[in-house]
Amino acid sequence: MVSTDQKTDVKEKEADCPVVVAVTSHAVFESGGAEDPDGLYVGGIAFPLLQALQKVNERLLKENPAESLLFDVIVITTESQQQQQSSRITESIRHHGLKVSRFCFSNEEDFIENLLNNNVHLFLTTNRNEALQGSQKGVLSVLLDEHTASCPTEQLRVLFCGDAVVQSEAGPALASKQAAQSFSAQIGKMRGRFGLFDSPISIALVTSRGGRESCGDALRTLRSLGVNADEAYCLAGVPRGPIKRLLRPHFLLSECFSSN
């Protein structure tokens, strides 16, 4: 339910505009379009993530009913087959009790345009190609990891990867570095609305290759963006897999630290 009024607000009060997150229908629902007995789609990888985003919004509004720094969630289709399933998608969303503000029924040709038109701050997809396309157009695009995004948790868990090595596999993200930084600043601000304990958002930082100095630098970079991490891990070569499994992030961000 985004009215045009909010759009002007976006220009005036940059700091408190909503954080627009677009998730592909493929990510929200089980791939292959699996259906339940009612013919509705079954929850997929990004399902817990959407629930976590919702929870953050609920808590933000609880702190301040007039809060405008909220997640604005869009479900977007990125190919024609899904595009044609519009009613089933909306039904399924409603059935699962997810609060989605908008639907964009686009296909492979025009979904990028829709992302841009809707001023999307973060684009989440399970499709590597889509993520790449998004990045190339300057939209912060994050590839959802099957193993981690789907962990159900009470908290939205965001993981910053402070090393160049751990650059998201979505490929070169030159244009989206700025998008990443402003999104990170928004997340940092949201995190700041809550205290140290019992926060619906948790921010972790991991550096994979470098030693303590590189982690220190990453912490400083985050701080300069207004992000205060809750947890920090400096691996200095320890295999990432087990650590990532323990951290259970819903998604990873690394573009803030790219050397470009």
Partner: protein, 371 residues
């Protein structure tokens, strides 16, 4: 490398540096220290966890954070974090594990000389429940003291257990009894470290590690008999089972890895003045029950450099002579006795002795308490 040079053993407000006894501030606090820039020398690469001997230490045992601890207790978490951030460029002074870590690094330096390609080295990981906001102060402090710590986990209140496993931790040292018990339950060698009133000077050329026997290196099976049936039965039992090895205890594995490293020095002709020395300090007596202990070690293929059978005498004075960097015991009575005489002593909360002790083990709330 003289450990006592200019470093404040700053316990209970008393300053032990040459600066004089009135001020409770260490020299670097006086000078509003400009941090020493990290040395430009090439830093050695951290070994792979599966090859290294990983020692995980919490921030409160590595550094002295008493002042900050007090702020947390009296003013709460937010003030604690605020204070830490405000004092970010001020390094902490050394804590009880500091000299142990420095000794580990000294051993590493020697190992690197003899075996430049090997990754069988000590790897010290900072494993703290602290919030990442304290991270920069901890990093700055590591830099200041020129410690070789390149790996750390700041879990922001989450349990460290999973991370201990991910780092293949061989030994975990913390001031928090809850976490140590959790680690032991997961099969990770762990101990609660205490800060002695006055720390005695320790060697900077030789790492010395002292162990109690029962319920530390060995299982608590004999102690159970002692507690249930008394000392006489205990001696009888031990004599009768002299040739039956005791079951292993939580720190057997750590002694084992120390032995492995020792052999590397022996291999290069450094047996007489090996940079690692191990001690068994046990209440068993040489005349009777001690034999079973030694035979057990032998059956495990482990050596211990010195075995001290005290036949029930207090351990404090003996440890004061040995000057280990660290001492492990399962009984608080011995841990306290050792600490009173200046030894860095650690409690291994394992076995039958834990159910007997009622006093003095109430967990103090810490800023790093698990959520």
């Amino acid at each position: 490398m003289n450990l006592n040079n200019g470093q404040s053993l700053n316990v209970g407000g008393q300053d032990f540096t040459k600066n004089g006894g009135n001020s409770s501030r260490a020299p670097w606090e006086d000078a509003r220290t400009v941090l020493r820039p990290s040395t430009p020398t090439r830093k050695p690469k951290s070994p792979k966890p599966e090859n290294a001997i990983t020692i995980a230490v919490s921030s409160r045992v590595l550094f002295n954070m008493e002042k900050e601890q007090q702020i947390y207790e009296q003013q709460g978490m937010e003030e604690y974090i605020k204070y830490q951030v405000e004092h970010e460029t001020e390094p902490f002074s050394p804590g009880p594990a500091f000299s142990f870590v420095k000794a580990l690094e000294a051993v590493n330096a020697k190992l690197r000389e003899l075996y430049p390609e090997s990754e069988e080295l000590f790897d010290v990981v900072l494993m703290t429940n602290n919030h990442a906001n304290v991270g920069l102060r901890l990093i700055n402090t590591i830099n200041h003291h020129q410690l070789f710590i390149e790996r750390f986990c700041m879990t922001g209140g989450n349990s460290p257990i999973g991370y201990l496993k991910a780092y293949h931790t061989n030994l975990y040292l913390s001031a928090d009894p809850v976490k140590v018990r959790e680690a032991l339950a997961e099969g990770i060698a762990a101990a609660i470290m205490f800060t002695p009133e006055k720390m005695k000077e320790v060697s900077d050329t030789q790492l010395r590690v002292a162990f109690d026997g029962d319920a530390v290196l060995f299982s608590d099976e004999s102690e159970r008999i002692c507690k249930a049936h008394g000392l006489d039965k205990f001696f009888e039992h031990e004599k009768a089972h002299e040739n039956k090895p005791l079951d292993h205890g939580p720190l057997k594995g750590f002694l084992e890895v120390l032995g492995k490293l020792q052999k590397k020095f022996y291999g290069k002709g450094q047996r007489m003045d090996c940079p690692i020395r191990t001690y068994l300090v046990t209440a068993r007596s040489a005349a009777s029950s001690g034999t079973r202990a030694l035979k057990t070690l032998r059956s495990w293929g482990l050596e211990i450099d010195e075995a001290l059978f005290l036949a029930g005498a207090p351990k404090g004075p003996m440890l004061e002579k040995i000057r280990p960097h660290i001492f492990f015991d399962d009984q608080m009575f011995h841990v306290e006795g050792a600490a009173e005489m200046g030894t860095v002593a650690c409690h291994v909360p394992y076995g039958i002795a834990q159910r007997v002790v009622k006093k003095g083990t109430k967990d103090k709330e810490t800023p790093n308490a698990s959520k």
